[in-house]
């Protein structure tokens, strides 16, 4: 019985929030995996992109929120452009990130950490992007 | 408050039973109304349907006559544009009654009392929804007094 998974109650409220922030409908997904197949960042993802949608379909938001995947996504829109079901997975990833960093004190990137992460050649664009993506 | 207004408001509060005359084309909307029936979708009994072969059979005179006889709202329903059983009839309906609606508004009729909508044979729920909405709007407006022939008692 150890492997048997009891599907936890779907976190309806949080899930609804994610769907509203992203404006996407996870029900459209048929799990073809085209997003994963083309994802250039999949090597450092613990949950693959198509699994992210599957978990959201099942209401298992925690697994997604606690994953490395959402922080590995570079918002490159490769999946967005190819999805046969017109789902913008980049928006879903962003919505999950936002539900985390929008809560108080949960910014992933703190201003104090920045000096350690940059080098003299790094363009402003990287720092501004980082702040927009990881900090609220 | 003027006497007339008082009268109206008293009539409004008393049990105002609006009447809506719906002209439905035989192929789509009449069948849609039947489907609302077979699906037991409720809508108020104040809606009464007259069957026409195509929405383009509806003469603007019919609409005026209904208002003259005291109908509080008139709905014309046809097949969706592009789906007309007679190929193009509902395009004529659309044009004719766009003009008609402007005219009715010009002579002072509340535009909410008259509408043209497209209901296919498969849209029983749309039929009920359109009728419920039409009634709700007419309910808000109260009885049709502007175009009603006072000699005609309903």
């Amino acid at each position: 019985m150890g492997r048997m998974k009891i599907i936890p109650d779907a976190k309806k409220k949080e899930l609804q929030q994610i769907l509203e922030i992203s404006g996407e409908n996870v029900k459209d997904c048929m799990q073809c995996g085209k997003c994963t197949a083309g994802c250039p960042a999949s090597s450092s993802m613990d949950i693959l992109p198509h699994q992210v949608i599957r978990l959201l379909q099942l209401g298992q938001l925690d697994k997604v929120a606690n994953s490395q995947t959402i922080w590995s996504c570079a918002s490159c829109f490769t999946c967005t452009t190819r999805c046969p079901r017109n789902i913008d997975l980049a928006k879903l990833m962003e919505a999950v990130r936002l539900t985390i960093i929008r809560s108080k004190g949960s910014s992933r990137l703190k201003a104090d950490d920045v000096p350690g992460k940059i080098d003299p050649k790094m363009p402003q664009q990287a720092i501004v992007s980082g702040f927009r993506k990881y900090n609220k | 408050m003027s006497l007339e207004n008082k009268q109206i408001s008293s009539e409004n509060t008393s049990n105002f039973k609006p009447l809506i005359v719906a002209f439905c084309c035989n192929w789509c909307s009449y069948a849609g109304a039947d489907l609302a029936g077979t699906s037991r979708l409720n809508y108020p009994a104040n809606v009464k349907i007259i069957k026409v072969p195509c929405s383009c059979r509806v003469n603007p005179n019919f609409v005026l006559r209904a208002f003259q006889r005291g109908a509080d709202g008139v709905v014309i329903a046809g097949c969706h544009p592009g789906d007309c059983h007679y190929t193009s009839g509902n395009y004529y309906t659309r044009r004719r009654f766009t003009l008609m609606k402007n005219l009715l508004e010009y002579v002072g009729l509340e535009p909410e009392r008259f509408k043209v909508d497209w209901i296919s044979a498969g849209e029983g729920n749309k039929f009920a929804a359109v009728m419920n909405e039409a009634l709700e709007q007419v309910h808000k407006l109260g009885p049709n007094r502007k175009l009603r022939d006072a000699r005609w008692k309903r």
């Binding site: 090597s43 450092s44 402003q124 990287a126 980082g130 | -």
Partner: protein, 259 residues
């Protein structure tokens, strides 16, 4: 030919060459780029959340100014182009965004997506024409095998950016050809370099750029060009074998206005 011009913050600091060569070349081509007076940073990433308004305002200000002047808005940095173009699309198609933004900004006239945003490369292709550009080349870059690195932001999402075929683009190759050099198509030219991941997940960004560089090397690319400061940074970071420059540098060189 006169355009409004939005530079963006990186072009004033770490990516000054991108701008300098672009402006020199524009002058040589008889194109007037008028820098917007009070442009603000676009935010570098397009806000993907449907409920974010504040982060779109700076783009709308730039767009509204261009619309008011009745000029097309030219961008140079791929990130700025991406952000401003997508915000413009929102202003055209999303009533909710449009209303909230206009309520907030209280511009003299509501902005509804009237301005047209084009990237400098699109200006070269669509306004001047690559054949005309080729005629103006004084110093053709003959015998140079140059690869284009497109990255993500100019191409995707395809329907909004409407820049080129998102999977098999050709605009930069045609540009390279117009300058007299030999464009080399290599398969990974549209793959992501990792972008902002280089801030927080350097290893992953490294791996992603490695894949691109390998693909370029395999196909005998001798130098790479790009339109994005962050792509250039990521590609340069580890590699020493292939020189990476901004496309504008090549342009200036071919037009004889470098320096």
């Amino acid at each position: 030919m006169k355009f409004s011009y939005y530079p963006g913050c990186t072009l004033k600091t770490k990516a000054q060459e991108l701008e300098k060569f672009a402006l020199n070349s524009a002058a040589a081509l008889g194109v007037e780029l008028e820098e917007q007076k009070e442009w603000q940073c676009c935010g570098a990433v397009y806000p993907l959340a449907e409920d974010e308004i504040g982060t779109k305002l700076s783009s709308v200000r730039a767009l509204a100014e261009a619309a008011q002047k009745n000029e097309k808005l030219i961008t140079l940095c791929a990130a700025c182009h991406h952000v401003i173009k997508r915000v413009n699309e929102d202003m055209k198609t999303k009533d909710d965004v449009k209303n909230k933004v206009n309520n907030y900004l209280q511009l003299a006239q509501d902005y509804q997506g009237e301005a047209e945003v084009i990237h400098y490369l699109e200006m070269l292709r669509d306004e001047i024409g690559f054949d005309k550009l080729a005629e103006k080349v004084t110093n053709p870059l003959t015998n140079r095998k140059i690869g284009a690195y497109y990255g993500c932001l100019l191409l995707r999402p395809a329907e909004t950016m409407n820049f080129d075929d998102p999977e098999n683009p050709s605009i930069i190759e045609e540009f390279i050809k117009a300058l007299g050099a030999t464009p080399v198509k290599y398969p990974y030219r549209t793959e992501c370099c990792g972008g902002y991941l280089s801030l927080d997940n350097k290893e992953l960004a490294q791996e992603m750029t490695d894949n691109i560089m390998k693909s370029a090397l395999k196909n005998e690319v001798e130098e790479l060009v790009t339109a994005c400061p962050l792509c250039k940074y990521n590609l340069e970071n580890k590699n020493g074998k292939i020189a990476i420059s901004y496309f504008t540098e090549l342009l200036a060189e071919a037009l004889g206005v470098k320096e």
